[in-house]
Symmetry: C2
Subunit: 337 residues, 2 copies
C-alpha cells in the first residue's frame, strides 16, 4: 500500500540528451491533492511506462504537450476513485487515465480517461493488451499495414509489448510472420511462445541475407519499433507497394548525436512504398472496434501476453529507462498499490 498521508511522485529534473538517465528524475513528496468541482481523487494502482513517452521529454518535439522541468513525469495509469465531485466517477470505480508518475492524482475527465469494465479482466490489462500496447499493435498493423491473408509481415522488437501482439494479430489474419529481436533467447520465445514463422536476432551477421532467407519473396508489411538498421533491412526486403507502420524508433533515441536514417531511402520511390507514423493517443476515437475484437481474442485465450512488473513509485524511472535497454520481457508495468 502507498503511504496514505503524502503523495510521492517522480518529477523531471533535467532534460535528457539522448537516452534518459536516473539522474534526470527526482523522487519528491507533496500533499495529497484535494478534488475540486468536477474532479475525482484517484489512488494510482498501476503505472504504464511507454517508449513513446520519450518524445514528451524533448524540446524539439513539443508538438505534443511536453513535460516541463519540475513537472510530474507523464504516464498512463490505473487507479481507484477514493473521492469524487464528478457525476461519472463513483467511489470504488477503477479508472484509466493519464495520471502521471505519482501515487495520487486528480481525474478531471480528460478525453482519454474512462471507467473500466470489471468484466474485461484484471485492471492492469487496460495498460497493456487492452490498452496502449494492444491498441498500438491493432491500429498500426490493421489500419496502416493493411495486411492480407498470405502476405508476409515483419515486426521489429517482435517480442516486445507491442510487437508480440502485432505478430499474433497478423497470424490471426492469415499472414506469415517474422520477428526481428535482440537476442538468441528472444528468437526462441518469438517462435515458441508467440508463434512467429521465423525470427532473426539483432546480432546475426548479415541482416539482409537472413531476411532474404526468411522471406525469399520479400515482405508486404513492416511494423517498426526500432528504426535504424532494422528499417534499412526492411526497405531492402520490401515488395512493391509494401506498407510500413512506424510505431517506434528506439535505435534513434539511443545516442546523444543524431543517428542518420537509412541510406536506401530512395527505394521508397521505385517500390511505391508507404511509410506512416502514428501515436495512438491521437486515435482514441477508433478504440471501440479494437476493444471488441481484441477483447474477444483475449477472452478466448488466443493471445499470449507477458509482462514485467516493478514495485513501488520509486522504481518508475528505472522501469522507463529499461525500455531502451531491453530490460523488459513483454509489457513493463509499475505496481503502486
Amino acid at each position: 500500500m502507498s503511504d496514505e498521508h503524502v503523495n510521492t511522485r517522480i518529477v523531471l529534473k533535467s532534460r535528457p540528451n539522448g537516452l534518459p538517465a536516473i539522474a534526470d528524475f527526482a523522487v519528491e513528496t507533496a500533499a495529497i491533492p484535494q478534488p475540486g468541482p468536477g474532479e475525482a481523487l484517484v489512488e494510482v494502482m498501476w503505472l504504464s511506462v511507454d517508449g513513446f513517452m520519450i518524445a514528451r521529454l524533448r524540446v524539439e518535439e513539443n508538438y505534443t504537450a511536453g513535460v516541463a522541468i519540475g513537472d510530474v513525469m507523464q504516464a498512463y495509469g490505473i487507479g481507484r476513485v477514493t473521492a469524487s465531485n464528478r457525476i461519472d466517477r463513483a467511489i470504488g470505480d477503477i479508472v484509466f487515465g493519464a495520471f502521471g508518475m505519482q501515487q495520487w492524482a486528480l481525474d478531471q475527465g480528460s478525453p482519454v480517461g474512462r471507467v473500466l469494465d470489471p468484466a474485461m479482466g484484471p485492471p492492469q490489462s487496460a495498460l497493456g493488451i487492452l490498452g496502449i500496447s494492444g491498441w498500438s499493435a491493432y491500429f498500426g498493423l490493421l489500419d496502416i499495414g493493411q495486411p492480407k491473408a498470405g502476405e508476409t509481415v515483419v515486426v521489429s522488437a517482435g517480442t516486445g509489448a507491442v510487437g508480440a501482439l502485432v505478430g499474433q494479430i497478423a497470424k490471426l489474419h492469415g499472414c506469415r510472420t517474422i520477428a526481428l529481436v535482440g537476442s538468441e533467447k528472444k528468437v526462441r520465445q518469438a517462435i515458441d511462445l508467440y508463434g512467429y514463422d521465423a525470427a532473426i536476432g539483432r546480432h546475426d551477421s548479415d541482416f539482409d541475407a537472413q531476411l532474404k532467407c526468411a522471406a525469399p519473396q520479400g515482405i508486404d508489411v513492416y511494423f517498426d519499433n526500432v528504426g535504424g538498421g532494422h528499417l534499412e533491412a526492411a526497405l531492402n526486403a520490401a515488395r512493391p507497394y509494401a506498407r510500413f507502420a512506424i510505431c517506434g524508433m528506439i535505435s534513434m533515441y539511443n545516442a546523444e548525436a543524431p543517428v542518420p536514417g537509412p541510406a536506401n531511402m530512395a527505394l521508397i520511390i521505385g517500390k511505391n512504398l508507404r511509410l506512416e507514423g502514428f501515436i495512438v493517443s491521437n486515435h482514441w476515437d477508433m478504440m471501440g472496434d479494437f476493444l471488441k475484437e481484441l477483447g474477444a481474442w483475449h477472452a478466448q485465450g488466443q493471445l499470449k501476453w507477458r509482462q514485467t512488473v516493478r514495485e513501488g513509485i520509486a522504481s518508475a524511472p528505472d522501469a522507463f529507462i529499461g525500455l531502451f535497454t531491453g530490460a523488459n520481457m513483454g509489457k513493463m508495468l509499475v505496481k503502486l498499490a
Copy 2:
C-alpha cells in the same frame, strides 16, 4: 531528319556506380527493324529523359525491368508510324511509347503506348506537361499529398519539370506554395514565373530557419524530388499529419557511396506523418482524369511550362546526365526528327 538507312541508338556499356557518366553509354548503329505481325514501325521524333530512369540502371533496384549491358537505354518517346501490321496504328499516326533511345522502334502495343490526339497541342507535350512530368505532378500532389485549400505545400526542385507543375497545381487548389531550388536565379524564376509564394535557394545558410520563416505554421504537404537535406528540413517543418509525396531523391543518386537518410526520421512517429513513394508508370490506369483536368488548365493557358531541347540522338546520354547536375530549365527533351 534522321538517317533513313540505319537505326542509330544508345546502348548501356557499363553499369554506373553513383551518377551515370558519358562513358557508361555507347552510340551504335543497327539495321532499321522490320515490323512483324502485330507490330508497327515508328520513326522516333522526340525522346524524354527522366530522372527516375536511373533506377533501371541499378542492379539492386531490379524490381522494375532493368537495362542489361548492351541493351538500348530505356526512354519514353513520341514518333510517327511509318509502317503498320496493327489494326490500332495507321501510317502517319503520332504515337507515344517506351521506344528507348533510338531513331527507329517497333510499337508492339504495350499498355503504356497510345495514339496521340492532335487537338492536344504539339506532340512533345505528351512527354512533359501532358505526359510523365504532368502526370507525376498531378498524381503525387493530389492523390498522395491530398492538399486542402489554405494548406502550405513545399516542393523541392520546385522549378524542375515536375516541381514547377506541382507548385502551379497546388496554387490552383488554393494552397500557399514554397519552392526549394538550386540557385538564386531559380529563386526569382520560382516566384516570378511559376507564382510560388516563397522560394528558398539550396545554398541558403540555414535551411530550417528559412523554411520556418517562409512557413511559420509548418507545412502540410511536401513533394520531394531531391531527398537528403531537403527531406530532413521538411520533416522538421512538418505539421502533424503532413503528407510527403516522394517522387525523386536526386541527392541520393549523387554519390558513389550510400548517402545516409535524414537523422530526424523519428519525427514520422510523433507527428503522424505519411511518406509515400511512387513511379507513375505504375498508375497508367488513372491517367484519364489527369489528361482531362490538366489538359483543360493547359488549354486555358493557366500553366507556365518551360523546356530545354537537345538535338540529335547522340546528345541523349548527355541530356540524361544533365538532369542530375541541374543542366535543364524545366523539362529536358531530345529532338530526333
